[in-house]
């Protein structure tokens, strides 16, 4: 039977990798919620959660338990199937990005070389772009199915915000793409790792700024958290949700943050590259381990940046948000793209 003529070992390997990455991101997201509260506390000069366990380290478990134990309420007038589908879609879209992120180089186990990336497809960047554009559905469907005017307003806000900032996001990615000449995240990272090459942030400071601002908007983070503006919309698109469905929505936001931090680290900050160190001088497994730690440090730095901004900058008004997106970000991204193209051609001597 030719169905069995298939590399089952590869299949098992990928399955284990997927399981590890998904559970690890859930675990990290759990502690990101804790970090968010601690960072907020530090910035506001108060102790923050410090009751559960040493330094309040068990706080996320207490929060999770609270969410699970809460009563599950599905509003009578809601569209039940879509109401349940909404948080699931939000979570799926958030987790799907992890498939193309190169978490580290490769490890060797029992003579088998294992790539620490789920799929090295040669359309990696476009895949991320596609997943980002699908992320809107979780918010839209959840907001609409709740059959609540505030939820619907928030969902529409979220969707239009996401669509507007996707354009500038894509345009800033094109400049990176022109530099590296590849859409695969792995080759983008490896190109930055080569001796003599700097990280892309050196060549693309403006591109990174645009990408970062657009990521803030795509993740619905302050100053662009219009879909959850409490003082205008009560609570936002997840107003009617309770228990773990609400938890999924809140969680997917943190997972989005982790994933976009990872993508940013790969695109602009050399991914699993350790600065001032030649990885080829180390053994394969050691280089992979250190590389993963380097990527992880970069991710944590970006997550901290996200939180820092959240607790420092007030929220934009909706028309300001749209003006910034359409009238500033997109022209700036187009300019960046033209400049990059011109510089590449000038350097090539055409």
């Amino acid at each position: 039977m030719s169905l069995l003529a298939f590399d089952w070992l590869l299949f098992a390997e990928k399955l284990i990798l997927i399981a590890i990455i998904v559970f690890a991101s859930l675990g990290i997201a759990l502690y990101t919620t804790f970090a968010e509260r601690k960072v907020a506390a530090v910035l506001q000069d108060r102790p923050g959660p410090n009751r559960a366990g040493p330094l309040g380290l068990f706080q996320p478990f207490a929060d999770g338990l609270k969410l699970i134990m809460k009563e599950e309420i599905i509003p009578n007038s809601s569209n039940k199937i879509l109401f349940i589908l909404g948080p699931g879609l939000a979570m799926t879209a958030a987790l799907m990005t992890c498939a193309v992120i190169p978490w580290s180089s490769r490890v060797e186990f029992f003579g088998r070389s294992i790539e620490l990336q789920i799929a090295d497809i040669n359309i990696g960047i476009l895949y991320i772009f596609g997943v980002v554009s699908l992320g809107v559905y979780g918010i839209m469907i959840g907001g609409w199915a709740s059959n609540n005017k505030f939820s619907l307003m928030a969902a529409l806000r979220g969707a239009s915000q996401a669509i507007s900032y996707e354009l500038a996001l894509g345009l800033s990615l094109i400049a990176v793409l022109m530099l590296s000449g590849s859409l695969s995240l792995k080759s983008i990272v490896e190109e930055q790792m080569q001796p003599g090459n700097y990280w892309n942030i050196v060549y693309q400071p403006l591109g990174f700024l645009i990408y970062f601002i657009c990521t803030l908007a795509e993740c619905n983070r302050t100053p662009f958290d219009l879909p959850e503006a409490e003082n205008e919309l009560n609570f936002g698109y997840h107003q009617e949700y309770s228990s773990m469905k609400l938890g999924f929505y809140l969680f997917s936001e943190y997972i989005n943050m982790i994933m976009s931090s990872a993508v940013m680290a790969c695109l602009f900050f050399g991914g699993y590259d350790i600065p001032f160190l030649d990885e080829s001088s180390l053994s394969t497994n050691l280089a992979a381990g250190l590389g993963f730690l380097a990527l992880f440090a970069k991710i944590i730095f970006f997550i901290f940046l996200f939180m820092w901004i959240r607790w420092t900058i007030p929220r934009f008004r909706y028309d300001q948000l749209m003006n910034l997106g359409w009238k500033n970000m997109i022209p700036l991204a187009l300019f960046n793209m033209l400049l990059t193209g011109a510089l590449i051609l000038w350097k090539a001597g055409v």
């Binding site: 772009f129 596609g130 554009s133 699908l134 529409l156 239009s160």
Partner: protein
């Protein structure tokens, strides 16, 4: 039946089932969601043909952008099953007739123009769909139609802005 075959049949069945559900669903929001499933299934077919670029662009443009706008309009108009106007029987009958004849024209066109007999699709090792080859083909062999269509898109964009500005 190997893995590719079973994937092909699964995706085809999914595409046809979801397409039928688009028509049958009473709730327009459900129809839009089923249509998104159709796009996913078709993208799966593109991946099977190793046309990765086409697959992902299909998702970005149709599922990611156009369908969101569809959802927008439907949600804002708050269409639902009760508000759907009842069409009379004759209208439905003629709809079926005209749709069916259009399908026949399309099928016969495909059968006449391309010599499909005895040809097999390039599964997973055809590489014209990869972005490098596609870009080369678009910017060398097909540069004139490509540029003309981009001008067409630009004019559509300008037109949309002009209509949008008119209060």
């Amino acid at each position: 039946m190997n893995l590719l075959d079973s994937l092909f049949y699964f995706l085809s069945a999914l595409a046809i089932f979801s397409a039928i559900m688009v028509l049958v669903s009473k709730n327009p929001v459900h129809s839009v969601l089923w249509l998104i499933t159709v796009f996913f299934a078709i993208s799966g077919h593109y991946v099977l043909l190793n046309a990765q670029f086409l697959a992902i662009v299909n998702l970005i443009v149709y599922a990611g952008a156009i369908m969101v706008l569809f959802l927008f309009v439907i949600m804002l108009m708050n269409l639902n099953a009760e508000a759907e106007p009842r069409k009379n029987l004759w209208l439905k009958l003629f709809g079926i007739l005209s749709g069916g004849s259009f399908l026949m024209v399309l099928v016969s066109l495909v059968r006449q123009t391309a010599e499909l007999t005895g040809k097999t699709a390039q599964l997973k090792d055809g590489n014209i769909g990869l972005i490098k080859n596609l870009g080369k083909a678009l910017f060398s062999d097909f540069v004139v139609p490509f540029e003309i269509s981009s001008v067409l898109f630009l004019s559509a964009m300008v037109g949309a802005v002009v209509i949008g500005k008119k209060d």
